[in-house]
Symmetry: C2
Subunit: 201 residues, 2 copies
């Protein structure tokens, strides 16, 4: 059993990756989280792109632990905001990780933006970095629309105000399995599967 | 004396335009503000560009009053935010016109953005629309850097956190005359001068 570190403290992301690996029939890999390894200094996410942040996090984690490390950086890119909040999605309100404040701010900023200009994409970059330094980085996108009020209790972040293309429900109203099938993070993680399977080798 | 309507309720903008016209020796034009004309329904600023908003405001004002109307739309375009807050500068925090909330939010969003990526520009589009529908629209830009704390009591909006290129002071530490000489709005208004002089005929 090869241990792979997912460089996150977000339990939902850990569950999500395990669920995707199981659904895709990847065996021989045990995914652990940051809670399962000794603490190490984590650099702040100051990159200008999702890819930069994902790689930096995975490099730090692989160096500190000697394990193959996966890290992701995700966010919502709103057309009417020229692709922002982007890499600042988790601290859009100025307070890191306050989902409700971030979502409320985005709704307020878009209050006067008409329906035809409310397009957006959830974007996820995922990186796998091996202890020898080898890097793989991929990007998944999920297009949709930012609506005007919250709906749904699944998911996290901006899920309650994002209706994916071809859907009438928000991504917070989809089941975890439905979300995995289409979501930005699901797509990115599946793009990483060939590299993860090699580890299991 | 030709009366020209500056479509704003902001007394500081009115004073600024009068000061620039006087400094440039434009006589024969009396600038009045929205406080000096009967109220008319003002459309919300929902354009995707500064130019769109400036023209829409001036068109509304010229139609409603029969006067030549000047309108501007201005904001700060931050490189690390892909040019946002942009047209949403005055309501960046979700509350329209709350300068302090907008500025605090921008500082919070840029807290982890390193010094070398804190470039920005103040941008102003100014439109002159005549009662016969003729339109002139121009754009002025003022490059600089967003610093990490407020300084200075002149100006308004994001002035206390913007240091123009070639300066060590913020634009809120410049005198009104210094600001007029370089600022985005000063540049845009000077680009409108030929069209304004024609009115004075």
């Amino acid at each position: 059993m090869t241990r792979v570190l997912l460089a996150t403290r977000n339990q939902k992301k850990l569950v999500e990756l395990r669920r995707i690996l199981a659904a895709e029939g990847v065996t021989g890999v045990e995914v652990i989280g940051l809670a399962d390894v000794p603490e190490f200094p984590e650099a702040p996410e100051t990159g200008a792109t999702f890819e930069e942040n994902a790689v930096a996090k995975a490099v730090d984690a692989a160096k500190a632990t000697g394990l193959p490390a996966i890290a992701d950086d995700s966010g919502i890119a709103v057309d009417a905001l020229n692709g922002m909040p982007g890499v600042l999605s988790a601290r859009w309100s100025g307070k890191h990780g306050d989902d409700q404040a971030n979502l409320d701010l985005l709704l307020g900023q878009l209050a006067d933006v008409p329906d035809e200009r409310r397009g957006a994409a959830f974007v996820s970059a995922s990186a796998l970095v091996l202890p020898d330094g080898a890097e793989t980085v991929v990007r998944g996108e999920w297009r949709g629309t930012v609506i005007r009020e919250e709906r749904g209790a699944n998911g996290f972040g901006y899920d309650p105000i994002f209706v994916p293309e071809g859907e009438t429900r928000t991504s917070a109203e989809l089941s975890p399995e439905e979300k995995d099938a289409d979501s930005h993070r699901g797509r990115a993680l599946r793009l990483l599967l060939p590299a993860i399977r090699e580890l299991a080798g």
